[in-house]
Amino acid sequence: MGKVLMKGNEAIGEAAIRAGCLNYFAYPITPQSEVAEYLSRRMPEVNGNFLQGESEVAVSYMIFGASAAGERVFTTSSSPGISLMSEAISYIAAAQCPAVFVNIMRGGPGLGGILPSQADYLQATKGIGHGDCRLLVMAPAGVQEAVEMVMMAFPLAEKYRNPVIILGDGLIGQMMEPVEFPDHLKSEPSNKDDWAINGMDTRKSTERNLVKSLFLDPTQLNDNNLILKAKYERMKKEEIRYEKYNTDSDYKVLIVSYGTMSRVCKTAIDQLKEEGIEVGLIRPQTLFPFPEAAVRETALKEGCKAVISIEMSMGQMVEDVSMSLQGKLPVSWYGKCGGDIPTPEEVIDAVKGLNV
């Protein structure tokens, strides 16, 4: 099959089907409702399930239930909807069940607005639910990458028996780009005997599985948290992904930016190059685990004098950038968060304003 022209939201839906996920539960919210629109047409064609829940809270527990039964399952929502799901996300992580969540972020806080934003960075990477839980967080910069990340997300969720979240801004959902789909994945989680409560008939083990997040014995609860912590440490070793741009040049400034914001930065970098000003870019593709060492090493290249985090938020990722730099270089922030995306010209001004 050749390339097709797809809206990000449609491509995300198709990618999930290609990843063998035949269960989609969702509640509509702008700017991601086209995923449900698309899958309401497509799921019946592949004998899959689409159910619109009565709320995001209901949806999030449908996800928990299907995952506990050993099914590949996912949902999509946008910022306020993800907040409503955060309780179940914590339960799913505690019970060590895999699931995939997609957040097509809109402006916040509160109901905010319906235009693009990246203001759920801290929520996704550090505060997705109560307790010591973390999600693997991936951030695509285009429709093709969204497809690839959705298809990676299911096996990764199963590898870690932990939810994975795709963090896209509104543009990722709404923009149209040509895409190509990789081959289908196997439809069954290969290790579901480890957690699924789907009867003993087909299971190799004679041990019964128990899906729960309640551990009243403090030692058991601490032990469960240690298991989760070990998984998050393993993610830091094995799952870090990032991309660099113009870092072969003698750059004086390094931009750290992710998602579609990074594409505005690339245009700005190309224009600055024409003026004889070299600027490098590092784009985290995983936000948790954050590519700390890569950001630090790229920033500490000889000649680089300053680092700027450019975000569609009021300065969230900049905290991880500062932690990565460990005080070795000045770190600043530039961004907007109302739905207006900084233009290449505004990024150029922000870089020039650093006066290095």
């Binding site: 390339k3 809206k7 449609e10 594409r263 900084p342």
Partner: protein, 231 residues
């Protein structure tokens, strides 16, 4: 070959078929030919990338744009401005109505039935065979039926808009033309025109087409790209 259209033209089609780019560029094409043109953004279902994004460029070249009031432009709920009904009742030489996608987007047309009453209307379905669900004649006819049912109006022409945005190749234009010609034969609907992106115009042999060609200068671009100047 000139595009032969006047009166009220309603542009429908599936999500992302390119209705808005077609509407904007058609408006500019006819304005250039000296026709009095107005355009109405009737997209009540799509949150981004609507005709309203190009409103200042269109106004600059003298094309009137009917929109919801300024304070509701970013609203997350459907707003149908009474200006649209007024425009249909008192059309200019060419009045283009850019509807929303799919049957959901076309539903609003049914609420304008009073205004459309007794008027002759060209309702044209934009088809991009490189989009999901409209890569087959069957898929396009299903979409046609759904739109006709929702809008309570009849589609009477096709616009071929085969493209992959920046990655469109000449072969996509030629195969897209063959596809809409076949669709026209099977459906009995007239093929009104096809589109070609402005950057491919010099490479394309328009003598291979038996219908007019509308050049597309892309206006609905993401913020890291620049729209092609209309004027």
């Amino acid at each position: 070959m000139e595009i032969d259209l006047q009166g009220i033209v309603v542009i429908v089609g599936n999500y992302g078929s390119g209705k808005t780019e077609v509407s904007i560029n058609l408006a500019v094409n006819k304005k250039r030919a000296g026709v009095d043109v107005k355009i109405a953004d009737l997209d009540l279902v799509n949150p981004y990338f609507r005709t309203r994004e190009a409103r200042s460029q269109l106004s600059e070249i003298g094309i009137g744009v009917a929109l919801p009031p300024e304070e509701y432009l970013q609203a997350d709920l459907p707003i149908l401005s009474p200006v649209v009904a007024g425009l249909i009742k008192n059309p200019v030489e060419l009045t283009i109505i850019d509807a929303g996608g799919d049957d959901a987007g076309a539903t609003v047309l049914a609420t304008l039935a009073d205004a459309f009453n007794g008027k002759s209307v060209h309702m044209l379905q934009v088809v991009n065979p490189l989009r999901p669900f409209t890569g087959t004649v069957k898929g396009c006819l299903k979409m046609r039926n759904e739109i006709e049912t929702a809008s309570k109006m009849t589609i009477n022409g096709i616009i071929g808009n085969s493209n992959l945005i920046d990655e469109t190749r000449p072969e996509d234009i030629y195969s897209g033309y063959e596809f809409v010609k076949l669709l026209s034969q099977e459906s009995g609907l007239a093929l009104k025109f096809i589109t070609v992106p402005s950057n491919l115009m010099t490479e394309i042999d328009v003598s291979r087409f038996s219908c007019p060609v509308l050049q597309i200068k892309r206006q609905l671009v993401p913020p890291w790209k620049k729209a092609v100047k209309l004027s």
